[in-house]
């Protein structure tokens, strides 16, 4: 039996992070990996951000919340295997996790000012990379405070790889706003914001106010000042997050569709991960169409003419799809030399129960291979 690069990773890594574009199969891969690790004997947690809740169903849970929940052994019965270590799952609630983070780093009176600010909610969701950041931050927290042998993190669909990798920097940048201080600190101390708008940056500030309105400028500045006081607490944590991502016990699993038209996204993501010195354990090409074999064509030739035509038409279509996928995979291999590629076939049905997750896992570790 062959094994893949994910096989030793499942046995040795402490953290695996599934990344990739929207809809490629990140959540499926993350759940399949955690399931496999627990069956093979390592206590595992899959931390998903999938709001569709069907991961919960396929793991035999009625709901998944922001807390770690054990997956009942009965859910695994259909597999005919006995997990040698426990499996846990949780679904990250972005807003709640942000609130918890603010609560952790802010003093009680700052906390109220921030959480009740009307800009807070839109900032915690709208700032580019804030979702990505909060999921990594949660990972760091879990890694510090829990004893799982393996944590598999599922990530939000990321349109731009940089939103993900730059997230810690962006969040720090955000807190570190000289702008708010430069513009407002003295005036705030004096309790006369209006004054500063005209004294200090004068001309510049009048222009800006024309753009945003004065009131908006004031309110936003107050918020920025409140949040910039959290700087130290955040800075330390963000450093921790970055270290965790670069740690040798952490690995990335980059999931992609085989489609040649979409391969540039995966290639770009891979390049960015490399640049940021993060280890890509494996590229997973998901939903690959297998090439119809010669035997199939020969068999089809024995059918009655009308059935033969229908079957051959279908085989021709499969052939084209398999060829397209093959082109895509070849492009990927050429662009990412030396990185192992694992192929998972497109199953006839969605992956929505524990058996399908298990089957996906078998391809991921190389118990089964394509073609």
């Amino acid at each position: 039996m062959s094994t893949t690069a994910l096989s030793p990773a499942l046995a040795g890594k402490r953290v695996l992070i599934c990344v990739g574009s929207g809809g490629v199969g990140k959540t499926t891969a993350a759940a399949a990996l955690a399931l496999r690790a627990s069956v093979d004997g390592r206590s595992s947690l899959v931390c998903t951000i999938d709001p569709a809740r069907r991961l919960a169903n396929s793991l035999g849970l009625t709901a998944l919340g922001n807390a770690e929940t054990p997956v009942p052994a009965t859910a695994l019965e259909p597999l005919g295997v006995h997990p040698r270590a426990p499996l846990y799952a949780m679904m990250l609630d972005m807003k709640q996790t942000w609130d918890e983070l603010i609560t952790r780093v802010a003093s009680p009176e700052q906390r109220e000012r921030i959480l009740s600010n009307r800009f807070y909610q839109s900032l915690s969701t709208a700032l580019a990379g804030s979702q990505e950041y909060i999921s990594m931050e949660k990972l760091w927290e879990l890694r510090r405070s829990s004893n799982y042998e393996l944590i598999v993190l599922d990530t939000p669909p990321t349109a731009h790889a940089l939103d993900f990798l730059d997230a810690p920097n962006r969040v720090l940048d955000f807190l570190d706003n000289d702008a708010a201080k430069w513009l407002l600190t003295p005036a705030l101390k004096a309790g006369k914001l209006g004054m500063s708008l005209f004294n200090r940056g004068g001309y510049v500030m009048r222009g800006l106010a024309r753009f945003t309105g004065t009131e908006m400028l004031q309110e936003l500045s107050n918020f920025m000042l409140a949040i910039s006081s959290l700087n130290e607490g955040f800075r330390e944590r963000a450093r921790g997050v970055r270290q965790l991502l670069e740690d040798p016990s952490t690995g990335f699993v980059l999931v992609t569709s085989p489609h040649p038209e979409r391969m540039d996204e995966a290639i770009h993501f891979h390049k960015m991960l490399k640049q940021h010195r993060m280890e890509v354990v494996s590229l997973v090409v998901n939903r690959v169409h297998p090439m119809p074999t010669e035997a199939l064509w020969a068999d089809a030739a024995t059918l009655t003419p009308s059935r033969r035509a229908k079957v051959e038409e279908t085989l021709r279509e499969q052939h084209i799809m398999a060829e397209q996928d093959h082109t895509g995979i070849a492009q990927l291999q050429a662009a990412c030399p030396g990185v192992p590629i694992i192929q998972v076939p497109r199953f006839a049905m969605d992956v929505h129960d524990i058996s399908a997750l298990w089957r996906t896992g078998r391809y991921l570790v190389g118990d089964e291979t394509l073609g």
Partner: protein, 304 residues
């Protein structure tokens, strides 16, 4: 049923990868061929439409692709500059204000400002007039971001109206919202694949656009559908060929899935659903887009 040609702003959205840009490109081509001056807008992304039509990249400035057809990839930096210039009117003033490092840093954190200027640029082109008083563009097609992002993108005007104190930003938002919610102007086209998640996302998107943006779904496109091919009798006859049966069964299942998906969309969206078949072309370029366009004919003209 009114066709898209009666509307001026066509918004195309759906789950990532389902074929939004494909549909936007096909619709743009069709609108241009109907003699409408057409602008297709992609939103801060890897440009696809120009590539599908086998034309040079449009980039962040409006560029003509062919007769009656223009394209633009709306990007935040350029859109912000145009918006800034419009508000401040003088280039030097703009530079002093906006090219100040601290100001730039500050602007980045105004919630939704980026989305506002991106949407603002599209809405600006929708209202732009030629010297003779006609619209510069008869049809504006927005190849909108994928579901989650599309919802936040399109609800920016509404959110700003609610959160931002009265001022220039709020006024701008109000203007945009009025156009977005006007069913005589705007039509939303949701794209899905015959699979569970893309269909569910289309339903979510539909509900969110209705509740948060007051935008009605005009129609859905069920892309990459498999037509029915094998009858039950065919499948039975293949009983002695287990491997071929699997091939036929998989095709049969996909076709059945397409029927189910179509029904589910129709029932929940209360809007017509237009299937586009999965095409089997080695290259997915202009020829493929023209084929997609033919399947969308009834959507565009409103003919039954």
């Amino acid at each position: 049923m009114a066709g898209l040609l009666d509307k001026r702003l066509w918004i195309v959205s759906g789950k990532g990868g389902v074929g939004k840009s494909t549909v936007a490109a096909a619709l743009a081509l069709r609108s241009a061929r109907a003699g409408k001056r057409t602008l297709v807008c992609e939103v801060n992304t890897q440009e696809r439409v120009s590539r599908f039509l086998e034309r040079p990249e449009a980039g962040p400035e409006v560029a003509q692709l062919e007769q009656n057809l223009w394209a633009v990839n709306v990007r935040p930096q350029e859109a912000m500059r145009e918006y800034g210039l419009m508000v401040l009117r003088f280039e030097t003033f703009y530079k002093t204000v906006f090219e100040n490092r601290l100001v730039r840093q500050f602007l980045r954190f105004i919630p939704s400002l980026q989305e506002l200027v991106l949407l603002g640029k599209i809405m600006f082109h929708l209202q732009e007039k030629l010297p003779d008083g006609r619209w510069r563009f008869d049809t504006v097609i927005m190849d909108a971001p994928a579901t989650g992002h599309a919802i936040s993108f399109l609800s920016v005007p509404q959110v700003l109206i609610q959160t931002v104190p009265p001022g220039p930003m709020a006024r701008e938002a109000q203007k945009m919202r009025d156009l977005l919610v006007d069913p005589a102007v705007t039509a939303a086209v949701l794209v899905a694949l015959p699979e569970e998640m893309p269909v569910n996302e289309a339903l979510e998107l539909h509900a969110a656009l209705r509740d948060k943006v007051s935008l009605r779904t005009h129609a859905a496109v069920l892309n990459q559908s498999f037509p029915e091919r094998f009858t039950e009798a065919d499948l039975e006859a293949l009983g002695g060929h287990p491997e071929l049966l699997a091939v036929a069964q998989a095709h049969h299942d996909r076709a059945a899935q397409a029927v189910l998906a179509g029904t589910k969309l129709e029932r929940n969206l209360h809007a017509p659903v237009y299937p586009v078949p999965r095409l089997f072309t080695p290259e997915f370029g202009r020829k493929a887009i023209e084929q997609v366009m033919e399947h969308l004919e009834p959507l565009v003209t409103g003919a039954a």
